[in-house]
């Protein structure tokens, strides 16, 4: 290249110029390729690191328990088996736990979407006295950690004889400040003229919410649904305190029944864990796009 640069522009021939261009293009291409290669390599390393616990769990879940107890490296099961899953289902009523968790998580999700969208509607479309103060109070509730109220809540529900019931798992979680905030954020960018013209046409508020507002803010609902469902599915402390019987245990508590000192049952326990992680991961993967779009549309931008 230097000898070409050394030549003055007048002396450079067309062929030389084209050759030079080709050479430089190739160099850039190689550079770009190697950069992408390094990037992918770094990503593979990072992904393995992040996914290691999950991959390891899946591997153990398929491992006969005799294979687990060796000092040799045993990353991949030599004789994969489904026995662990079968045994886990037999040993504890896992199906029952899964149904319980589904019922609870679905009710909480549905309830939060309704109560939060109604409240957010009022906060963004209607005018009433004390609106701003009320909204600030709602936002302030985000500062109260659940653990600061859990003792009193436990005493309240046990006073009501609610322990060991579906409602005790559901009712306390039927609304959330974050949900109200998220929906309000969406409704603020909703064209107010649409609301006004609906009103002029004699559309009631309730009708407006369910026929126009909710259908047009599906992405907020999607984000909210994914987030709430996963959180409800993964709930731990509250179900631990308020449920005692097998009939009402949720998956996160129920799976603990497989967690015994009996070393033979390690593979069972991990098989159980894999089974209960699966629903939340699937929902996350399916709803990830919705979740991200909902979470970051204006809500926490800069």
């Amino acid at each position: 290249m230097e000898n070409i640069i050394a030549k003055s522009p007048e002396h450079i021939s067309r062929e030389e110029l084209i050759a030079l261009q080709k050479l430089e293009n190739q160099k850039a291409k190689i550079k770009r390729r190697s950069e992408t290669g390094i990037l992918i390599g770094a990503n593979v390393v990072m992904a393995i690191l992040i996914l290691l616990p999950l991959l390891y769990a899946i591997s153990i879940a398929f491992m006969p328990s005799s294979e687990l107890f060796t000092t040799a490296m045993n990353l991949i099961p030599q004789h994969p088996t489904l026995e662990n899953f079968h045994q886990a289902l037999v040993k504890v009523p896992l199906v029952r736990f899964v149904i319980n968790s589904f019922v609870v998580a679905a009710c909480i999700t549905f309830g939060q979407i309704i109560s939060c969208s109604l409240a957010a509607f009022s906060f963004s479309f209607l005018e009433f006295k004390g609106k701003n103060i009320l909204f600030m109070i709602v936002m302030a509730t985000m500062m109260i950690p659940g653990e600061a109220t859990i003792i009193s809540n436990y005493l309240t529900v046990s006073g009501w004889k609610w322990l060991d019931s579906y409602q005790v798992l559901i009712v306390p979680y039927l609304t959330s400040a974050m949900g109200i905030f998220l929906f309000r954020q969406f409704y603020m960018s909703f064209p107010i003229s649409l609301y006004e013209s609906a009103k002029i046409d004699g559309c009631s508020n309730i009708r407006f919410i369910f026929r126009i507002l909710l259908p047009l803010t599906k992405s907020a609902i999607g984000a909210m649904a994914v987030y709430t469902f996963i959180n409800a599915w993964n709930m731990y402390m509250w179900p631990l305190l308020v449920t005692g019987s097998n009939e009402l245990r949720t998956v996160q508590i129920g799976i603990g029944m497989l967690d015994s000192v009996d070393s033979q049952s390690i593979t069972l326990m991990i098989a159980g864990v894999v089974m209960i992680i699966l629903p939340s991961i699937s929902i996350f993967i399916v709803g990830q796009k919705q979740l991200i779009r909902g979470m970051f549309s204006g809500a926490v931008k800069g």
């Binding site: 409240a119 209607l126 950690p145 005493l155 309240t156 939340s280 991961i281 996350f284």
Partner: protein
């Protein structure tokens, strides 16, 4: 006409009622009740029996165990916040430029946020198992991670950092996508290398979301419970007895609801102060 305006005037409140009712019964009322309980000695049913004023607080502030809880919690929060933010940041930087397979990787990095703390703790329990666990095998070590007071807290913290890294990845990815691409091009023309670009452009560009992420992470780390319960039960000794776990133990094993309530109030005050201080500092402008 008057009726209609009445509906109009109070109708607006109607939509807020369901949400406020739940807040009132399960958040405001128990919040004040916790403060109330913290000034009483209670019986086993959790009924306030004897007014002791600040007695519970004084007991706590003179107990070694409580100071241990605070110290353990602070160390825990420091490790968790640093670890989870670093993991999230590295992952987000790796996924900043597009390349084949990026969707798979970004899903992988966000995935820990979908996993329950208790399930994750069970997996880590096996990974850290002294004889069959993969960690000792891979590192050729022979450490009893969970039963050694030196390591137990770090183990729980690393697990929590991993759990929390998923959402941090999302925050930082959103932050990175807000940075104007053209400043990188200009920096390249000026001959800046990747490291310089990262510290001079990327980090300052992330500072607004960094702050938000920091606040959320600290609050979240303070509330870790499931992983402690499953992995260490606060032990060995009291080496992983985080405040939240200590509250749980005091209330539901020792039936000292008053003392547990006092700890809850202190926990709340701690988080509140931290958040306020952070917002103060942010307002003063740590903008780069």
């Amino acid at each position: 006409m008057k009726d209609k305006s009445l509906i109009k005037r109070f109708g607006a409140y109607g939509y807020v009622v369901p949400a406020m009712l739940v807040f009132a019964v399960f958040l405001f009322y128990p919040f004040f009740k916790t403060i109330y309980l913290s000034m009483y000695k209670t019986n086993k049913m959790g009924e306030a029996k004897l007014f002791v004023g600040l007695g519970n607080y004084i007991d706590l502030l003179t107990s070694k165990s409580f100071y241990n809880s605070i110290a353990v919690t602070v160390i825990f929060v420091l490790i968790v916040v640093t670890g989870s933010m670093l993991l999230g940041l590295i992952a987000a930087v790796l996924c900043n430029k597009t390349f084949p397979g990026i969707r798979f990787f970004s899903t992988a990095y966000a995935l820990p946020m979908a996993i329950a703390s208790s399930s994750a703790a069970m997996i880590f329990k096996i990974m850290l198992h002294p004889s069959i666990g993969i960690v000792n095998k891979l590192l050729h070590l022979d450490i009893n991670w969970i039963n050694d007071p030196k390591y137990a807290l770090v183990c729980v913290a690393v697990l929590t950092a991993w759990l929390n890294s998923g959402i941090n990845f999302l925050y930082f990815s959103a932050g990175l996508s807000n940075i104007d691409e053209s400043i990188y091009e200009r920096a390249s023309v000026d001959g800046a290398n990747e490291v310089q670009k990262f510290f001079q452009l990327t980090l300052p560009g992330l500072s607004p979301i960094m702050f938000y992420t920091l606040v959320v992470n600290i609050i979240q780390a303070f509330q870790s419970f499931g992983q402690v319960k499953v992995l260490t039960q606060g032990g060995p000794g009291e080496s992983t007895n985080l405040i939240v776990y200590s509250i749980y133990r005091d209330a539901f094993f020792n039936f000292r609801f008053g003392s547990a309530a006092a700890q809850s109030v202190i926990l709340f005050a701690l988080i509140m102060c931290l958040t306020l201080v952070m917002f103060k500092v942010e307002k003063k402008g740590v903008q780069y």
